[in-house]
Symmetry: C2
Subunit: 432 residues, 2 copies
């Protein structure tokens, strides 16, 4: 089931630029049939967009698991009572979607889950021996933005990964924080992104140690300065010195003071960035008021030390497009591409072309190469325009001349290079 036939797929591409899109990722997501608006800031994920969303979600999941976090799933709807306990119910303002159920109980659509996870913790964890613990989930959130815009980049209903760490003392909390810091660098790199962590204000989550992760994109929303060392990190090593990484210099333009910047000019980089993650240490801000305590080795009860760690999963779809596109459309990095290969049969009415294309399908399917096979009767120009718009990393083109001589064309979406090859060589290039 690795090959999908376009004639049986649902890929509603738009030939015209939609008027409502102000930024390139929003425009391309609508044009390439990734999403469709349901209401302001609320989107349907169409088949192609859904595939990308799932790819990103899976990379995030694997890196969280690798870092020792444990996946759970908290509900979207929460009782208001928790938020009254933590003291945030009134603070959160109109961004929180407040709901009354049929029994007139106060509920809300979770904009984040600190209270919820603390409630889980306090009911089950009693001893320092059960720590450290890091629970995460990947769930839809709702923030009732006054002016939703930029497509999925600032939506109201959005998919977020949020992890929550619990430790007995500050030293443990710091280790948990650094563990997530490293996991974030690895996560974004696996998506083909350079992520720059920068010391951040903590905002409504609260806290006193916080980094915001911006990925680099020429069309990014903010200007960032950073140490070139970020581009050369070896994250594969088992003994990465995370603490040193947290001290590398990076700052958004508003906070960057050239007079005080510790990085020598030749190693200082300037670029544009998009925020895609945010990590916080906030100590006992929630555990103390909500009574999440553990008994220590000395028998005394202490409020547990916490941090929270968010990644905007749906936002990343837009952010990656901001980082990877050209004038013809999206240019997906392979790890998050909806399909790796677009197979274009230029002449489905030609028996040789179709025989060759079908044989290619069988082989790609067996090799597990995710392929979108354009078997439609569209003309060549339209087929290429669609494939370039949706940005699959590789195009395999089958035309009458090649079909006679046993050759197909393999094109790279990223650099446009094209090579004529036999089917064996294509498979080898894609899977070798």
């Amino acid at each position: 089931m690795s090959v999908v036939r376009l004639s049986r797929y649902f890929l509603p591409v738009l030939r015209e630029d939609p008027a409502e899109a102000e930024i390139v990722s929003h425009r391309l997501m609508l044009r390439a049939g990734l999403i469709q608006q349901a209401a302001a800031g609320i989107y349907n994920w169409l088949p192609l967009g859904f595939r990308v969303l799932k790819k990103i979600e899976q990379i995030v999941r694997e890196e969280m698991d690798r870092a020792g976090a444990i996946e759970i799933l908290m509900p979207t709807i929460q009782p208001a009572q928790w938020w009254k306990e933590s003291g945030r119910y009134d603070d959160y303002g109109k961004e929180m979607l407040r709901i009354r159920d049929r029994h007139d109980r106060e509920m809300l659509y979770g904009p984040t889950n600190e209270e919820n996870v603390v409630d889980i913790f306090r009911r089950h964890v009693k001893s320092y021996r059960q720590l450290p613990l890091n629970l995460y989930h990947i769930q839809w959130k709702f923030r009732d933005e006054i002016r939703p815009r930029f497509g999925v980049m600032r939506g109201r209903e959005f998919l977020m990964k949020d992890a929550y760490s619990f430790d007995y003392d500050f030293a443990g909390a710091k280790r948990s924080y650094e563990n997530m810091f490293l996991a974030y660098l690895r996560t974004f790199r696996r998506m083909g992104l350079t992520a720059i962590p920068m010391v951040a204000e903590s905002g409504p989550i609260g806290g006193n140690m916080s980094h915001e992760f911006q990925i680099l994109a020429s069309t990014g929303e903010s200007v960032v300065y950073y140490d070139a060392a970020f581009e050369e990190l070896d994250l594969a090593a088992e003994d990465v010195e995370v603490e040193a990484l947290t001290r590398l210099y990076a700052a958004v333009e508003e906070k960057h003071d050239p007079e005080r910047c510790p990085v020598p000019a030749e190693r200082l980089r300037k670029a544009r960035g998009i925020e895609v993650g945010h990590i916080f240490y906030f100590g006992t801000k929630y555990s103390a008021p909500m009574g999440a305590t553990v008994t220590g080795p000395d028998g005394r009860e202490v409020a547990v030390e916490m941090g929270s760690y968010g990644i905007g999963v749906s936002r990343l779809v837009g952010a990656i497009i901001e980082a990877y596109h050209d004038e013809r459309g999206i240019v997906w990095p392979e790890p998050v591409a909806p399909f790796r290969v677009g197979l274009v049969n230029l002449r489905p009415d030609d028996a040789d072309c179709t025989a060759m294309a079908e044989a290619m399908c069988t082989r790609l399917d067996r090799a597990g190469v995710e392929t979108l096979y354009d078997d439609t009767q569209e003309r060549a120009g339209a087929k290429f325009a669609t494939m370039e718009l949706i940005g699959l990393p590789w195009l395999v083109v089958i035309g009458p001349r090649g079909a006679r001589s046993g050759l197909v064309e393999l094109r790279s979406r990223r650099d446009g290079t094209a090579t004529e090859l036999g089917p064996d060589a294509v498979l080898q290039r894609l899977c070798g």
Copy 2:
């Protein structure tokens, strides 16, 4: 990463029966640490429960994909306007969770998605040539039940797979319906369940061809009569005659009339069942009022013929436990078990035991056998009680005597049989 260590896991089992649970699945889900209530009818999925939920979701997904349905994701929050167009906004009553956003716009938490998917369809599909089309998603829904009970079996926030078929004419719609009918039988069988489809009333979805799928469980909510043929179906064949299957006899007790039952006594079965799926054909009930039309081969515009097809994914977790449990706990069928193997080290303080257990972990991990490794200091009785409660299909037990002689015990949760084997033989039994 196939092996999880219990000492670093979050598995809050309860030794006592929770007072609020009226049925066995609810009791066992709470006791085995699968879920935790957040509010009436709203649950947190703890690590073990989350794994089961994902297994079920994945089987549903694979069978939908195999049947040619295409996955999308519609949002949880919908604009009320669609429901006013379809005429259901007032009909749905208090079960629908109605919300006003900060701009006082009427929204709702979707209890189902007919209107939403029709909106997607009508914006993009214009010709009969683009049909048939079947779009599905697996998304959280909310129904504000007046009295939520039975844990996830009748929750308010619940995970459902809902598919929607679009066809040009009745003949096509009937094929789509039969295609889903077969996919449902296959889906439930893959989970180790016997599903009995029975002709049903169509309820608030509306329609005039409808089957409800009940799975058999001794503790089921209703009594069902059915043709023994259902137990012998060959669903693997490529040429299953679905239409004949839709006509096999099955009825809930209230509708079963022994005088008129066409099945001879020796082939009539009586059992208890739980509803886990429901499929509907409803023609143009939504497409006509919402203007979802296509142009036919004759150039005339017609409202598209539709059906919808639901499976209660979160409900299935409870339903499977109702079907598979004993007095000691859950007995998971292998395809949906959270882990296939529980590895019990009876003496983590014994060097031989631990060396053998660690070696076993490495091998199970390499073989990709999902394993929960109990490396804790609990006493043997408590370890076995937990493993039996959480119901993993296989237990591998390592104790001091066996460790000396190179033998482990392999126990089947289902039938309780135990065999002493060497590690090679264990791997062969589990993977062979």
